[in-house]
Symmetry: C2
DNA sequence: TTGAAAGCGCTACCAT
DNA sequence: ATGGTAGCGCTTTCAA
């Protein structure tokens, strides 16, 4: 069943059927009715590939993240998918992992599938060395970065001022005289760089001497953190606050501390990042910096929409995080 | 840059270029080398749509779930995506929500995009009334159900014996003389039916009288559960075990109980379902039934592979869950 | 408002 | 082993 069949059955030319399918104006109401009748009667669906051949697109956007089994990315992808769908776009999901070569390969793959745009979720996509693969992709289609920032032509960034968030967090801690802060970060994550910047700036401005012994670089694994923090406590190192670059890490620390009979938040305040579902799982519940995933994603898609419409959206959109105070601080 | 350009530059016909692109045998090594040289030199990528037009496929599989921001689905989608990619397939992600009409619409959409197959993740896709939309889709492409079971032609199911898991769980509880079991389930979830079957069967076989007051139907929200369970306790209802159809629900119950100064597991044992990351967030850590998401997903893709290869894979693949015992029981 | 016909870039069949 | 060419099903001019 193709456009020729429909044309024949409706007694018109394929050009007219095409016009009806694409909702063009220049078709008489009578003809339109007739063609639409035949189409729905036959349950006809235009062939996307033939259509894509002519138009160069089949309305698909590539969405990349390191892994969608991560809470943050899952939520982001869910929001992006739903927003894009309202615009009539499908999402091709790519979980790239952390390897640069892989990321690059995936982007090539997406280009070869002729996606209309690419959305990269997470600062994972910012390499310290070179971002040639992104620049290269951006020459073909617009690239949107969610929670990342890169100055590349045809690349649009939506992110949260995480540096500011941590800065203000340090201030709040200092205000309650919590000046021995254990800082836990995940080395795999590039965004932690800006968090760290906010942290050191906060320490400088609020006269906190941060001992190197109070910085932990850990894998993204609650148990590993628990063990590391436990050892730290056992070794006699003291602190009265914990700031972690991820809720999961904060939770690991929290459990280690409770294990050592330290009271949260009386003895040690604990703060996480992302305001994930995990926050409500501990007792006391975990305070966390909400970096506005949903908002970022909505903004990202809105930016895409403007691009499609031929407008000129902002190259960078910066959102303000919100500190969600719960029992742990 | 198209196949004609490459042909011209390589001094061969487009037919030969096509053969090289598709790795056909009947091309001399010399010609192949030459063509491949030109292709990589020019950075040429075949047009997928033209290709799809000829072949009727561009190697894409539709993956549907209710929402990918759910831990279970996120993990499933991640596994499926990675497995499919090794086979050279891309994933079109569809988060359908719970509405039947929507689900049906998404499946139509995927069909119109000419996906090679569809994978439905979660028993969400089993309607009580009719599954015509699935049957209809299955007439066009193979449909794989992950964690669901439906007897429809061209539909293949991979699931876990959750009924058995709950049955054995009841037995284990009974063995420790925990016979007053609070059963918490999420009504939105169809799979809970088989869990419930396992529960009642277990109660029958191990001489447990299960009072209707000890069955809670709740939304998928920890806070709501916490509140409901709290009220239950306050109203004087007693029990010494909790079985929940999801970790999140179990966690809500656990917090409510700890709030009322009940000791876990001494006073009340708590068991969840899915063995998610949430289990390690509570103290004591949550015991849970591992329904083998990853295995199910891998099996699903393996089934797909067999179908592609023209073999005849099993219509139903049943896996055995594993009880993960932790501190809460 | 409608139709005829020329692509779009590829695959696959038939010759050679 | 290689080339010629007829589709594949649609969109989009250009004419009428």
């Amino acid at each position: 069943m193709n456009i020729y069949d429909i044309a024949k059955l409706a007694g018109v030319s394929i050009a007219t059927v095409s016009r009806v399918i694409n909702g063009k104006e220049n078709v008489s109401e009578k003809t339109r009715q007739k063609v639409e009748g035949v189409i729905s009667e036959m349950g006809y669906t235009p062939n996307v590939f033939a259509r894509g051949l002519g138009l160069g697109s089949i309305q698909m956007v590539g969405v990349l993240c390191s892994t969608v089994s991560d809470l943050f990315y899952a939520r982001a992808v869910a929001t992006i998918e739903s927003e894009l769908r309202t615009l009539g776009y499908d999402v091709i999901l790519c979980c790239t992992g952390n390897d640069v070569a892989e990321k690059s390969r995936y982007m090539q793959l997406l280009l070869s599938k002729r996606v209309d745009a690419m959305i990269l979720v997470g600062s994972i996509f910012q390499e310290r060395t070179s971002n040639e693969h992104i620049a290269q992709a951006a020459t073909q289609v617009p690239v949107i970065l969610v929670n990342g920032s890169l100055d590349i032509p045809n690349t649009y960034c939506v992110f949260c001022d995480e540096e500011g968030a941590v800065y203000h967090l340090v201030r709040a801690l200092a205000a309650e005289n919590r000046r021995e802060i254990l800082y836990i970060e995940n080395t795999e994550n590039y965004a932690s760089l800006s968090k760290w910047r906010g942290f050191t700036r906060g320490c400088a401005d609020y006269n906190i001497f941060h001992s190197p012994a109070l910085t932990l670089q850990v894998p993204k694994d609650a148990d590993a953190v628990k063990e590391r923090v436990g050892r730290l406590v056992d070794s006699g190192v003291t602190f009265n606050a914990v700031v972690a670059s991820e809720d999961l890490l904060a939770l690991g620390a929290l459990k280690a501390l409770q294990n050592r009979n330290l009271r949260i938040p009386e003895d040690v305040a604990v703060v996480g990042f992302n305001d994930s579902i995990l926050c409500e799982c501990s007792s006391p519940e975990l305070s966390s910096v909400d970096n506005k995933v949903d908002d970022m994603c909505r903004r990202a898609v809105a930016t895409l929409l403007e691009l499609i419409r031929g407008r000129n959206p902002p190259t960078r959109t910066v959102l303000t995080p919100e500190f969600k105070r719960r029992g742990s601080f």
